[in-house]
Subunit: 362 residues, 2 copies
């Protein structure tokens, strides 16, 4: 049933004869959250499935479920994510915690109150049952911490060598209060870009374990539910225009998505971006740029300039926002593009990565 | 980070010293929809996540999303399923069609009108992009056929040899009309068990391709959305008590789940179970029992005896119910157990399979 491996895009097949061309086969980069991921979405998934909700490319879909005149549906936020992190257990978290908080956070980024989760497990033959038990216990604890209930599940098993221990797909349902409207298309020139804390912690924690690198202090993933931080932020500052959690692809990719969706430019200021000393050191050792390293308990917020001080005060009073900082501003110029002023004053373009910096990080 | 591979159940570790004991590691059987799957759910997932909705073990969770006094939520059905079928393309369908209809059907079994889907893809490095494009196109066509909209998605990529081309997890949202209540716990002695058509078509179609067996006629998967059939059935016969789609584990497993959940016995009549001649022949060749072979476009219904004729008439008038037949009845005796009267008159127990008959069938 195999199909010819020819490029079916506009170019004639003869123009693309390489058997391993990135245009013909899936590469790790297609899962990295950078250019290739965007490419796959724009060229393959949107043409196939395109509709207004999906095209918005928010972290969550917001829909109404109207059953008839007798019931008025609230606005329902709905999202899904697969988790394929390797190793399964790492300092500060595990695949189960990640799978719960990742989906909870995608709901929270739309201003939704997360309520219900589903979890589908793809298990590889030979997985120790005790590992699965440990993951399930961790997911339950994470659900309790985030205030959500797991109400639906599925388990499939694939033969040894056709999976990698366990993959988990969680989907989430939440409710968006009437009148609330957050969107990555809403940034306007003059707005400030705020990050809730130090960046790169999750990716570096996972990579350190994977590469067997030891540091003086244990680097821990920042894996956390952002629901309560978001609640505090929106209570203090209802004018927040957009929220996004900079997971795979890191801060750089999240800000690029924002610039692209809002058709604005963003200028980042390198000196104000909070990065732990140990994370910076580990990144140098591993050849990584912290701007592109995944976070699992951080968010970026876009807010009008007159409200940024109030927002920062509220964030810094919350345990998950202690290190919140203004890291950039939205500009008219270079719409769709992100630039960064370096510590020494130069300005450079911060683009989406075209390849894969950190495979299997979430 | 590995954990000791000891059985953490009540028995002391020394009592279970076998390194490959089925109690210590995941086996293919844990994904087969039989005894081991039930075991994993009862012993691991329910103790970890147990709540009233999950414990009900319906094909879908039904929840209310109340956002406050300004909005009254309809009853929302929510379900998730992963699809790992091998090969990706088979006569009558492909993994994408299966992933859409599988989730749509799980919603329909609760009497819900399916509305929205999410899809999360786990791709293996090296997957031909044209295969993915073909799958996406097929999913879109399936969504249109079933009247649902795909509103949320995710893509992850795993390294070559750590996945198997593509796994898809779909989740679905639907609305259950007020007053409708279908449940596998609702069967009562005297009720009739109806099946909507021939059984085993999907599993045999997939296995034939996988094993390279050719028949005079091509055996096709029955893969189809059951929403419209359910609508017709419930319109004609609102007294239907329970619906279930007999996917992996087949008719035998679905009826066992019903008997267990409703605490009733079920007596099947072998002679009335519709099986295509070709499927029966293929099963003999492949050493399979059609009772346990997966279906992807069939359902079983439980209905009070006085309404069964009306239900059958309605079903037989629908293209997906033409071969509908009464295949058994619910009894007081042997609660939780299913028996079958054979063509020659003997009666035997039809239990859940303890192993795996057909791995990776959906």
């Amino acid at each position: 049933m195999s199909t010819p491996r020819l490029n079916s895009n506009d170019a004639p097949a003869a123009a693309c004869p390489l058997p391993n061309s990135r245009y013909e086969e899936i590469t790790l980069g297609h899962g990295g959250g950078g250019k290739l991921t965007a490419d796959l979405i724009q060229r393959l998934f949107l043409p196939a499935f395109g509709n207004d909700v999906l095209n918005a490319l928010e972290d969550q879909a917001v829909v109404r479920l109207n059953a008839g005149p007798e019931a008025t549906s609230p606005r329902v936020a709905f999202t899904t994510d697969s988790f394929v992190v390797r190793p399964l257990f790492f300092p500060g978290g595990d695949i189960g915690r990640l799978a719960v908080f990742g989906t909870v956070n995608d709901l929270a980024m739309g201003g939704a109150r997360p309520l219900f989760l589903s979890a589908a497990f793809i298990l590889e033959e030979g997985l120790p049952i005790d590992d699965l038990r440990r993951i399930a216990a961790s997911m339950r604890a994470a659900c309790d911490e985030a205030g959500v209930t797991l109400v639906s599940g599925d388990t499939k098993v694939v033969d040894r060598g056709k999976g990698d221990q366990v993959f988990i797909t969680t989907s989430g349902l939440g409710v968006v209060p009437e009148g609330r409207s957050l969107s990555i298309r809403a940034a306007r020139p003059g707005d400030r870009v705020v990050v809730s804390g130090t960046i790169g912690d999750h990716g570096v924690a996972v990579m350190s374990v994977r590469e067997g690198i030891e540091f003086e202090t244990v680097l821990e993933s920042d894996c956390a539910p952002l629901t309560d931080l978001v609640r505090v932020m929106l209570d203090a500052c209802p004018s927040v225009r957009a929220l996004r959690d900079p997971t795979r692809g890191g801060l750089a990719s999240a800000v690029n998505e924002l610039a692209e969706a809002s058709r604005v430019g963003v200028k980042l200021d390198e000196g104000s971006i909070p990065v732990r000393r140990e994370v910076r050191g580990a990144c140098e050792l591993l050849g990584l740029d912290p701007l592109y390293v995944a976070n699992e308990g951080k968010l970026i917020a876009v807010v009008p300039p007159e409200d940024v001080a109030r927002l920062l005060d509220a964030m810094r009073a919350h345990p998950l926002g202690r290190d919140a900082a203004v890291v950039g501003r939205v500009v008219h110029e270079h719409a769709g593009m992100v630039t960064m002023t370096s510590r020494v004053g130069g300005e450079r373009i911060v683009s989406l990565l075209s390849g894969e910096q950190l495979p299997r990080i979430c």
